[in-house]
């Protein structure tokens, strides 16, 4: 592999602002002139791989994606920035479909964790509201090509509403692609058989309790939607009915404008959640999906997509296939279930998103499909597939240039654009490395 450093033309470098403390970096201004990427391998996702193709964007939007033999029709009178990317690859920004990015700074410092509103029912909570645009985690995810994320509140039965964010901007308004991407529903797992033995002193009496509890919790979720429906009907008929922010939070889901994100891993959990959503006429998306392959019939029939909670997971049982989680994406693809791949982890691991997809490839998933699972398919499931997820005219110019395929560890991400603005690929960690490399240099030169 060639590890020769890639150098961008001075013109481009001039647009990047260099300061050592990355998280205090100013953002680039909105795109002011067209950028033409030419002579690259374009991994369009929706339009195949274009060798030696070119692409240009202006005003933050991709205008043309062209094969090698076609010339761009650039607007007259503006000098475009032209990048010759011989040997380079261009990808749409990766989409980490389910994370807590922006809501958490340090996992174990509760004051820095903004994911869990109190109580079981807090659909009024919207992730985009609490995003910290200066979170150190955002540039870290971004530096490996993750430019879009679905960020999810957690905790309770209805933790809140997930938001789709772009990983660059001055304010959380800048970051927000879609504030209300869907209502998160933590569908409880049936606890039958889930009791670990504690010795004979725990009698059989308590055994039935978990199952009953789960039934009640599921009924409470249903009741919340029923109440919201009733409130909405009443308020539609009579606008003097007072506002209820919790009910209001469910309107989008009740009208089918946004999905419900059903957090469910087990077969019974997934199937009961999907059936429930069907009865309530809600658009279902399963998040988790450990047992999704066993639910393929229902998921396929009802066209319910799945956000997989990571590929790097342990098998369910001692006797399960060791690679059960690794092969799950390939099995879902074969079964005709729509899915995308998440990290199954929190805000600090989004940069490893491409490696989950890469593992799925090693264990049977088609590589193109795997790339789609962290780009277009993820964008579709989050409801932003018309704006993000592929290299196509009309889409946001949120993309990156790399030395190779992002599935490979040896690949470097050389430059990235969010809405046509070049973003800084350094982060707190790269700057710390630089700082202490200097200490090492000083020690070694003594």
């Amino acid at each position: 592999m060639s590890r020769a450093p890639f150098r961008f033309p001075a013109a481009l470098l001039a647009t990047a602002v260099l300061t050592p403390a990355q998280d205090l970096l100013p953002k680039a201004p909105p795109q002011s002139r067209p950028v033409l990427l030419q002579n690259a391998v374009l991994h369009t996702v929706t339009g195949g791989v274009v060798l030696g193709g070119s692409l240009w964007f202006d005003g933050g939007v991709i205008r043309e994606v062209l094969p090698a033999d076609r010339q761009p029709t650039l607007p007259a009178g503006v000098e475009p920035l032209v990048l010759d990317l011989a040997g380079k690859h261009v990808f749409p920004g990766l989409v980490s479909a389910c994370t807590t990015l922006g809501l958490v700074e340090i996992g174990m410092v509760p004051q820095s964790v903004d994911t869990d509103e109190s109580g079981d029912f807090s659909p009024e909570a919207i992730a985009a509201v609490a995003l910290n645009p200066d979170s150190a985690a955002i540039p870290i995810a971004r530096s490996n090509g993750v430019l879009t994320a679905g960020t999810f509140p957690r905790g309770g039965l209805l933790p809140g509403r997930a938001s789709v964010i772009r990983l660059d901007g001055w304010t959380n308004a800048d970051l927000t692609v879609r504030a209300e991407a869907g209502v998160v529903v933590a569908w409880p797992a049936n606890q039958a058989g889930r009791r670990f033995r504690r010795g004979p002193e725990r009698g059989a009496d308590g055994d039935e309790e978990p199952e009953r509890g789960v039934r009640q919790q599921r009924q409470r979720i249903d009741a919340a939607f029923a109440a919201a429906r009733a409130w909405l009907d009443a308020r539609t008929a009579d606008p003097t009915v007072p506002l209820d922010v919790r009910h209001e939070a469910l309107i989008g889901a009740l009208r089918g404008e946004v999905p419900v994100f059903l957090l469910a891993e087990e077969q019974e959990q997934i199937e009961s959640a999907v059936r429930w959503a069907g009865e309530r006429q809600l658009r279902a998306v399963v998040v988790g999906g450990r047992d999704a392959a066993q639910c393929a019939l229902l998921l396929r029939e009802r066209a319910v997509p799945v956000i997989l909670n990571g590929v790097h997971r342990l098998p369910r049982r001692d006797d399960s296939d060791y690679d059960e989680a690794f092969t799950l994406p390939a099995r879902l693809a074969a079964a005709g279930v729509k899915f995308c791949i998440g990290t199954g982890s929190d805000f600090s691991n989004d940069r490893n998103l491409p490696y989950h997809a890469a593992t799925a490839v090693a264990y049977g998933l088609d590589e193109t499909r795997a790339l789609a699972a962290i780009t277009q398919d993820a964008a579709d499931i989050l409801g932003v597939g018309d704006r993000l997820g592929s290299l196509a005219a009309g889409k946001e110019a949120t993309l990156f240039v790399a030395s190779g395929h992002p599935f490979e560890l040896t690949t470097t991400i050389d430059v990235a654009f969010v809405q046509g603005r070049q973003v800084d690929l350094r982060n707190r960690q790269t700057e710390l490395a630089k700082k202490y490399r200097e200490r090492l240099r000083q020690l070694q030169s003594r």
Binding site: V104, I106, G107, G193, R195, H312, D319, A362, L409
Partner: protein, 1005 residues
């Protein structure tokens, strides 16, 4: 309850009456002299005699002979019955009050109460006495419950005590009972802590005994240690599972104690190792509940191991017997003691013979309890403990009639009175002359018919020689009831009928010619399903174990890209030849030496061969608690005591090319437990077989937030609470260890006569380990994050002249790489994990590369069962972040951890003479495209995709067979999820594991 020893002489009454309270009224005299005649006598297992009379007098058997019953003896006719020796249960837990905590002479740990005595408790409560006798038991050993050393047992007769006749003790203080249980919130909080506590206490007892024997030493009296001072008293272990059983054997062996195991019933899962342990086992007969197969969701949760355990548990006793393990049976752990005969029948259905069953209940327990001279067989001079049975003992239709306990008869089942049985015709007393009713008596059943009409006989009651009942029906007198009482008179029956009007009428009946109405034929009992196959089981039990371990065959991998990990770049078209489990050749194919014709050739074309990967920070396979959180310093606990070879993660890690791990204690303690360098010898018969023999010893230390308890939500007041305290504590313990080592050295330096005159220094397991650290023979593996704490430990190490083994995690290592290079063998880090807590705020993925550049030996580890399967790509991140050459990056998970663990001369690279620990990959191992295709440990192929595929097919078939079997045969309440090895024993909340990744997973919740 008062207790009186049962003196083995005939002068019993005379010898002891003096201690009894005066009688009220005249003294009762009970000659206690019986002759049991006519029975079939099972004198001992395998020895049945007929035509003999057993004579009992004063509680003992005085004769078993063909003579006529002696004059004066009360004759008990046992014709048609069988007499067995009284059964013995060697393990009946009994409540004994805890020792007074405020008393001066207590062990510091409340779990150590060996001075307790079963005698001081309730012994066997009346209901249990009766229940045990009903099963045929005459003698039991009572033992105190609770704690790690619980106290001594006491063998008693299952008598009914009275004010003048208290419980009769057969033998006192027979054994001391130990267990490896944990205590909630205290020490030990983990199984390894329990092992350490037992070992330390036994060492203390030995030391105490030596002090007592040293003239002039006069140690302070210690009741707990004195109670353990007799090395001849057997040490029984109440164990929770088969692995704990092996651990108990090791402890007993170390301290030269005679061990007996009170097992779990799951011994068959580690049969070979237990057979080799040559330790008697008291086997409970409780079976695991059938797994829940009620729904598709439920069967998804049932593991094959759980199904196999359910199916095979009834074969446990037979398998142990076939493996020549001495077993006794106990009723302990049964959910309901009444199930005991059924469980015995289950065992017999699986092949245990009647003689073997009887032996496990008589001769064996008698021997284990040292009461073979008094009990276990029917012989002259022994206690008059007998079971009189109609039919076979434990047979479904067998019935215990009498149980004789020390010559006293306890009637269990009266024989049915057959004196009125037969068919009788009424000759007088029937109210209607036109009818000839026929009466049939069969035990306590009465039927009455007139012609074809059946009358209703209700309220039938038998009295000796008579029967009373009510009769009503159309054929008699409408529906009005008549009362009848009949008795035998001559050849017929006579009696009285009380009519509804109150008049009484004489009744006569003569034997009838009419054939007795055949009672409705008993529904034939369903044919019992055949017993499960008793073919050899895989080790470990479950889908991926081996019935026969893969052989260590010589083989050659040819044509692969070989990564030697010895500084050289990968060899394209390489070959590796393995002979006798060692690497014999590494090079290019054309340089291969001449190979034997039958050598196995593995085509490596297009593939990559690397050393087996080494995980320098693992918590895989540590049973029942990764962290002994009960104290801030736990250098005495050892991971090697709790290696769990059953953990399925071993197999999964083999599938990720891992062949060796550093099993580390958790990080809740500034000075934690001893680590264990382990080879992933999946299928090992004994947990100890997984240990990397000859690897340098290690110990876990921890700095920062975890030992100072900072991340514990219900943080207590345990020292230390700051990094300052961590430092002070470490300094203090090293100073203590220095003094300790000096004291021991001084004692060793004494000449033999002087040494004999002085009491030895007490052996302290904690300080032993720290003295080894100071001596440089035990490597510190120190959990650390921030540069200040790393610096601190480097300073302490320098001060004591210690070279640190590794800094673990060491996420700020890059800031002080020079100090680490000087003070430690290496640094073992995560590739790119960060963000989970405050002290990792400055973690960077370039850490590994920067440390490497500073000359530090670097490894990347998993600290996670999941990540452990992907160490190859973790190493790849050293290429991504820091630009290491690939062959140097791979060393982060091969040669470098081997150096850190001091085993680089044995494994971690591919060089002649090294162990053949190898992994074969489908592609560049640093790429996510690579799949591990085969893994060898010591030249044995323990994983391959091919074998894995075959296992999957077999698992699918076996699962379906067993799920069907449960669904169609199992009765009763289904079991809940969880390994049945936990069935009997509280698996406490093992909190405070402090594995970083685990915390990370829970961190955002």
């Amino acid at each position: 309850m008062r207790v009186r020893p049962l003196v083995a002489t005939f002068g019993l009454l005379a010898a002891t009456l003096a201690q009894e309270p005066p009688h009220e009224g005249p003294r009762p005299v009970d000659p206690g002299w019986f002759a049991l005649t006519g029975a079939r006598i099972v004198q001992a297992p395998g020895n049945t005699i007929e035509g003999f009379t057993i004579v009992l007098r004063d509680g003992r058997i005085t004769a078993v002979d063909r003579n006529a019953p002696p004059a004066g003896a009360t004759v008990v006719d046992c014709t048609g019955l069988t007499i067995y020796p009284g059964l013995i249960d060697p393990f009946v837990p009994t409540d004994v009050p805890a020792l007074d905590k405020t008393a001066a002479d207590q062990h510091w740990n409340p779990a150590i109460q060996p001075q307790r005595h079963a005698r001081d408790g309730a012994l066997v409560p009346a209901a249990d006495r009766a229940a045990l006798r009903r099963l045929g038991f005459t003698t039991v050993a009572c033992v105190p419950t609770g704690g790690n050393l619980k106290g001594t047992s006491c063998v008693v007769q299952l008598d009914e005590p009275s004010p003048t006749e208290p419980v009769r003790v057969v033998r006192d203080a027979v054994y001391q009972l130990a267990s490896l249980q944990t205590s909630r919130g205290g020490y030990p909080s983990s199984q390894m802590g329990a092992v350490a506590l037992l070992r330390q206490t036994l060492a203390d007892a030995d030391w105490y005994a030596r002090c007592l024997a040293t003239p002039g030493a006069a140690p302070q009296p210690r009741a707990a240690l004195a109670a353990l001072a007799n090395p001849d008293q057997p040490l029984w272990f109440d164990v929770a599972d088969e692995l704990q059983a092996l651990r108990a054997v090791a402890i007993a062996h170390e301290f030269r104690r005679r061990a007996v195991l009170v097992g779990s019933g799951m011994e068959f899962r580690r049969l070979a190792a237990l057979a080799a342990a040559r330790t008697p086992i008291v086997v409970p007969l409780q079976l695991p509940d059938a797994p829940d197969v009620g729904s598709a969701a439920a069967i998804e949760r049932v593991s094959l191991r759980q199904l196999q355990s359910w199916e095979q548990a009834p074969t446990n006793s037979k398998r142990l017997l076939e493996a020549s393990v001495e077993i006794a049976w106990t009723t302990a752990r049964l959910r309901d003691r009444k199930d005991f005969p059924a469980r015995v029948r289950d065992a017999m259905h699986c092949g245990v013979t009647a003689d073997e069953a009887l032996r496990a209940l008589t001769v064996m327990p008698a021997g284990l309890l040292g009461i073979g001279g008094d009990a276990g067989t029917i012989e002259r001079g022994k206690l008059a403990n007998l079971v009189v049975v109609a039919g076979e003992l434990f047979a479904e239709d067998g019935e215990v009639r009498d149980v004789w306990v020390g010559g006293r008869r306890h009637v269990i089942h009266e024989p049915k009175d057959r004196g009125l049985d037969g068919t009788w015709s009424w000759t007088a007393g029937w109210p209607r002359a036109d009818a000839t009713p026929v009466l049939t008596v069969d035990g306590d059943k009465v039927r009455c018919k007139v012609g074809d009409a059946e009358l209703e006989a209700t309220a039938v009651a038998r009295e000796p020689g008579a029967v009373t009942f009510r009769l009503a029906g159309e054929a008699l007198d409408g529906t009005q009831a008549h009362w009848l009482r009949l008795w035998r008179e001559g050849t017929g029956l006579a009696g009285v009928r009380t009519a509804p009007d109150g008049t009484e009428h004489e009744v006569r009946a003569t034997p009838s010619e009419a054939k007795a109405d055949a009672a409705p034929a008993k529904k034939p009992r369903g044919e019992r399903a055949p017993p499960p196959e008793r073919s050899p089981l895989p080790t470990p039990l479950g889908g991926y174990g081996f019935v026969t371990p893969p052989p260590a065959r010589d083989f050659v991998v040819a044509g692969a890209t070989v990564w030697p990990c010895d500084g050289r770049e990968p060899i394209r078209g390489g070959a590796v030849y393995v002979q006798g489990g060692r690497i014999a050749f590494v090079g290019v194919v054309r340089d291969l030496p001449n190979l034997p014709v039958d050598v196995v050739v593995v085509d490596g074309t297009g593939k990559h061969l690397t050393p087996g990967l080494i995980d320098c920070h693992s918590h895989t396979g540590i049973a029942r608690g990764v962290n002994e959180g009960g104290q801030a310093v736990t250098a005495e606990v050892r991971v090697e005591d709790v290696v769990d070879p059953d953990d399925a993660n071993w197999y999964r890690q083999l599938a990720g090319g891992v062949t060796c791990v550093n099993q580390l204690h958790g990080s809740a303690n500034a000075i934690g437990g001893q680590s264990c360098t382990t080879k992933v010898r999946w299928g090992a018969l004994h947990p100890d077989d997984m240990r990397f023999a000859g690897a340098p010893a290690g110990i876990k230390w921890a700095l920062g937030e975890n030992p100072r308890n900072a991340n514990d939500s219900d943080r207590g007041s345990r020292y230390p609470a700051t990094r300052m305290g961590v430092e002070a504590l470490i300094r203090d313990r090293l100073a203590a260890a220095e003094a300790y080592a000096a004291e021991r050295a001084a004692y060793e330096a004494l000449d033999p006569t002087e040494r004999a005159r002085s009491s030895p220094p007490r052996r302290d397991l904690e300080l032993d380990a720290l003295a080894e650290v100071l001596a440089g023979t035990r490597r510190i593996h120190c959990h650390s994050y921030r540069q200040d704490e790393i610096f601190m430990l480097c300073g302490i190490a320098k001060e004591h002249g210690i070279r640190i083994g590794t800094f673990q995690h060491v996420l700020e290592g890059y800031k002080v790489a020079d100090a680490i290079a000087e003070a430690a063998v290496g640094a073992s880090s995560f590739s790119d994990w960060w963000g989970y807590k405050f002290e990792v705020w400055d973690a960077i993925p370039e850490n590994g590369a920067l440390l490497h550049a500073a000359g530090v030996n670097v490894s990347f580890n998993s600290d996670s069962d999941e990540h452990a399967r992907r160490l190859n790509t973790e190493a790849g991140k050293a290429v991504k972040y820091g630009g290491l050459p690939p062959h140097e990056a791979l060393c982060f998970v091969t040669r470098n951890p081997a150096i850190q663990l001091g085993i680089a001369d044995r494994t971690g690279s591919i060089a002649p003479g090294l162990d053949a620990d190898l992994a074969l990959w489908s592609a560049d191992p640093l790429s996510y495209a690579a799949r591990c295709e085969a893994t060898w440990v010591d030249g044995r192929q323990l994983f391959s995709l091919e074998a894995d595929r075959a296992a999957r097919t077999a698992i699918a078939a076996e699962r379906q067979r067993l799920l069907q079997k449960v669904a169609t045969t199992a009765k009763g309440k289904p079991a809940r999820e969880g390994d049945p090895k936990d069935a009997y024993w509280a698996a406490e909340d093992l909190t405070g594991n402090y594995c970083c990744r685990d915390h990370a997973a829970g961190g955002v919740r």
